[in-house]
Amino acid sequence: MTTSNQDGKFAIKSRGLHIYYGDFLAVKDINLEIPQNKITAIIGPSGCGKSTMLRAFNRMNELVPTAWAGGEVLYHGKNIYDPDVDPVEVRRRIGMVFQKPNPFPKSIFENVAWGAKINGFQGDLDQLVEQSLKDAALWNEVKDKLGQNGLSLSGGQQQRLCIARAIAVKPDLILMDEPASALDPIATLRIEELMQELAKNYTIVVVTHNMQQAARVSDFTAFFNLGENRAGILEEYGPTDIIFTNPKKQKTEDYITGRFG
């Protein structure tokens, strides 16, 4: 995989992307360009392929045995689905944070250091852990208990620990699949603040069911919808302020105003 960014201002983009689970077409012909150092939200009704699309950006769908992809996902000008691309390397560069915080049953330090260690990190591990926890806005809360089990933290802290773990391996992109849906409103706002801080250095793609959250945090919004035979399609994509005040398509309007279906 080359490191030169041939895609200009876009961190990653899909071209004619189809994802299948066996015979079932989950998302159809998706052309989506994700701008660099911006937050892009993916919204849409249940089953429209939001999470499938998100996972397509780092080949995470391949962990589902029947899943396969057609079309391209271009990252630094290279199709990440080409046979010569190592999916592990893709996932190192394109990290993921899940809906439910999933720290390892290890110390806070080990949670953050884990990715760097298995990638053969040769630098100062203490410094890396500290900086990652600072970037994840968690350092002040855990600096005196780095040896404590990650599972002992609150839900919001666990999610920020997972974000620290994701950024410790220095990814270009962070994919977030409903990162705040299991958190209370205050912890949710902290995650949203953190996302905006992280967007200074990273590109973020977030799937969310919470439209207010998409409106609050994102720069761009992609509205996915159910198309023919329940295949997910990209209905409308644009700047978040336009999507939420003056969408171009009636189906987008119906969805974001709560009149869908």
């Binding site: 439209m211 207010q212 939420f244 005040t245 003056n246 969408p247 009149r259």
Partner: protein, 232 residues
């Protein structure tokens, strides 16, 4: 199977908001026509009543503002819903200011203690009828989200401006002939000015109607980009 819309409550409350804003605009139309009529008939007791009835308009404006803010806080409206409610807030302010103009005319009626010439009064009455008619149509365009209709209304402001200039010329001629009428003629010019401003504010309402219908936020009178300032 239920046929209830998931946003039935928002739809009902938005309709109530639109009904209330139509009530407010009707109050403004009525107070404006009555104020000019009182001035025409030198009916100072009626003018005093009109002057105080402006409080009702202010009260209604606050009610609309409160309802709009509550809807935003509790229903998190988006897209067209949001445009309607945001525009209602803006229009309520415009209407309240129009009420102030009518109140000002009622005050002038009490203060002027002079019978203007019938020609001037006829023009003032005509101005008030034109301005309130423009307002009536603009509110129709707003509640029906009729962008085409809204775009046509501001052009009628020219007719109001013609009358305003005509009134000014007549009054200045009277003042030249009788300089002791300085205070009275000044008040009358203010009455005409208030009606002229009212028609201008109708254009702002038309802009909101277009915004609700299309999402486009644009000046309709073209004053910013078409006319050049010339101070010479």
């Amino acid at each position: 199977m239920s046929t209830i819309s998931p946003r039935e409550s928002l739809d009902r409350q938005t309709q109530e908001l639109l009904d209330e804003i139509l009530v407010l605009s009707s109050m403004v139309e009525e107070i404006t026509l009555n104020a000019v009529s009182a001035l025409n008939n030198q009916n100072t007791s009626e003018a005093r009543k009109i002057y105080h009835s402006d409080k009702l308009i202010n009260h209604k404006r606050f009610e609309i503002e409160k309802t709009s803010l509550t809807l935003i806080a509790t229903q998190q409206p988006m897209a067209r819903d949001l445009r309607i409610i945001a525009s209602a807030l803006e229009i309520a302010t415009e209407l309240e200011r129009m009420g102030d103009y009518a109140k000002g005319i009622a005050r002038i009626c009490v203060m002027i203690k002079w019978s203007p010439t019938p020609a001037v009064m006829a023009d003032l009455v005509l101005m008030s009828e034109l301005a309130t008619d423009m307002l009536h149509r603009a509110m129709g365009a707003f509640v029906n989200a009729d962008a085409e209709m809204a775009r046509k209304i501001p052009g009628d402001d020219d007719k109001v401006d013609v009358l305003y200039n005509q009134i000014n010329q007549t009054i200045f001629a009277e003042l030249n002939a009788n300089p002791s009428l300085m205070d009275q003629t000044n008040l009358l010019i203010w009455a005409a000015h208030n009606l002229e401003r009212m028609a201008d504010r109708v254009t702002n309402i038309c802009e909101r109607a277009v915004y609700v219908a299309t999402g486009e936020m644009k000046e309709l009178d073209g004053s910013d980009d078409e006319q050049e300032l010339n101070f010479e």
